[in-house]
Amino acid sequence: MRARIANSDPVKVVLWITLLVVAVIWIAPVLFIFLTALKTRPDLIATGTFGLPTEIAWENFPKAWDKANLSTTMVNSLIISFLKVPLGIFVSSLAAFALTRLRVPLGRVFLAVIIMGAMIPVQVALAPLFRLILGLGLLNQYVGILLPYIAFGVPFQVFLLTAFFKSIPRELDEAARIDGASAWGIYRRVIIPLALPALAALFVLDFVATWNEFGIALVILQRQDMWTVPLSLQAFTGQFGNNYTQLNAAIFMSIIPVIIVYLLLQRYFVAGLTSGAVKG
């Protein structure tokens, strides 16, 4: 069938070939990073930019891993991401539930003030945030970064989840209520199970955003043993920026976790990105 369609429409064949060329150019930077990471330093100079390595320098990866201190920073990033993402989504889903299903005095005002935060550049608050976390004695601690991360995640998540919860029929709550369910029971047994696709989409989006976050981490995690992956990558550039082959190995390893999550859960990813912004 597919072949027939492609054969019958020359415009589509041209389009397909054009797309293929564009897609290869588009991901060329990633391929170029990987290619460089596979070269030895003499190879880099001898083979030129596009030349293939004469021998594959796998040792770049463990060496870069050690220099960038990735065993520590990967663990930090994983701990922070896997604490922040479920906690943040839980807190946001509770609020979205209250705002769509329960009686909240001034509910619309609350919602407006909360979702306004989704658009505000976090850099506006970086210095005061540093002051606040310093004052609370939470600098260089997981809690100290988790709280601002959750706070700045709440607006977008509440925005998206209120939109989704509104689409769940109210008759379901009422049926559960007649069966004697409490508000918590309705949240847990009716809303959450039905919202799983939206929650999965948020999980993927938020994991990527948390893994990639740089600005807040830069001011709050100042001690090297607390750094996340983006901070160690930035430091690597500063310290060993001339060691091109290992630098590229470090870049490559730092982006692998999000690429894996993205490729595995792509379906949810696109759903999450679009459901909030463009209403069907």
Binding site: R2, K12, L15, L19, V22, W26, V30, T36, L44, T49, V91, A95, A98, L102, R103, V104, F110, G117, M119, I120, P121, V122, Q123, V124, A127, P128, L132, L147, P148, I150, F152, V154, P155, E174, R177, I178, G180, S182, N212, F214, G215, L218, P230, L233, T237, Y244, I251, S254, I255, V258, Y262, Q266, F269, V270, L273, T274, A277, V278, K279, G280
Partner: protein, 310 residues
């Protein structure tokens, strides 16, 4: 909200908690965690920033005194870097409304066709959007490397050696070089939004136009394009906002240099507060950025609210 009065609720719980006193009581435990965390760690820092923009302070010492609007007057009248940052942020916004959006629309229109391997194409074209901005910065710094970088090597291979540059070292073009990396990363978001918008174009209208003898291009101009209007508004606003947020890329590639030629508002605020110990001025710059953002965001939310009610 009708319920048969004859059916007693199975528990002693009052029959309706919605709209009753109990309703009010049950809503706050759900709301409190998010509201408290948001108020304390997102809203409060912004208010604190506003407050401290009226003080002369180095950010560390106990010596801090009220100067009123002095910091604002200073950045507006005596800070050429501030104006450079404003100009660069405006250039950035302008370019971002043209380049990543057009490319994203083109990708979306192409991927909206039934094609073999469509998902693989979409995954590839969206890939840059999920990479950390700081990693993109490092990658493109390497791409722009004058000796080994892919950009110059490609130009040479294409016989365009006369275009070879020190892309990040030349103050006249460094901003645009960073922007290319940004466009590479920002196109994915526009593409996904346009793809979603294209799903909402009424199929019947397209078919009706075809029946009336319209060709591909005419259908696009007369049917598809007008139906995409809401998506254009969303993409425009999100492009402006994400341009104003640019920080990691510039931090990672040039730190605002050479000679402040790539300075942008978000980074200049950070640099003033953390590096130059001019906390009051840093906060004044942050507040300018905040006001610009609100001027764009408030009408946008008003528009979205109206659309939701229809």
């Amino acid at each position: 909200m009708t319920r048969p009065a004859t059916i007693p609720p199975p528990t002693s719980r009052p029959p309706t908690w919605r709209g009753t006193t109990l309703g009010r009581l049950t809503s706050w435990p759900f709301l409190v965690p998010a509201v408290v965390i948001y108020a304390l760690f997102a809203l409060y820092p912004m208010i604190d920033g506003l407050w401290l923009s009226f003080f002369d302070w180095d950010g560390v010492s106990a010596d801090r005194h009220w100067v009123g609007l002095e910091n604002y007057i200073q950045i507006f009248t005596q800070d050429p870097v501030f104006w450079r940052a404003v100009e660069n942020s405006l250039i950035w916004v302008g370019l971002s409304l043209i380049i990543p959006t057009t490319v994203g629309l083109a990708f979306a229109v192409a991927l909206d066709q039934k094609l073999r391997g469509r998902n693989a194409f979409r995954a590839a074209l969206y890939l840059p959007a999920i990479i950390a901005a700081i990693a993109v910065a490092t990658m493109w710094t390497w791409m722009y490397n004058p000796i080994f970088g892919m950009v110059n090597a490609t130009l040479e291979a294409l016989g365009l050696a006369w275009l070879i540059q020190d892309w990040l070292g030349n103050p006249d073009i460094a901003l645009y070089s960073i922007f290319v990396a940004y466009a590479w990363q920002a196109t994915g978001a526009a593409m996904v939004l346009f793809l979603a918008g294209l799903q909402n174009v009424p199929v019947e209208l397209k078919e009706a136009a075809r029946v009336d003898g319209a060709n591909h291009r005419q259908v696009f101009r007369a049917v598809t394009f007008p139906s995409l209007m809401p998506t254009f508004i969303v993409v425009t606003v999100l492009s402006i906002i994400s341009s104003l947020k640019v920080f990691d890329l510039v931090y990672g590639m040039t730190l605002g240099g050479p000679a402040q030629s790539t300075q942008v508002l978000a980074l200049w605020s950070y640099t003033q507060s953390f590096q130059l110990h001019n906390y009051g001025n840093g906060m004044a710059v942050a507040m300018v950025l905040l006001v610009i953002t609100l001027v764009i965001v408030i009408p946008y939310y008003a528009w979205m609210g109206r659309r939701d009610e229809v």
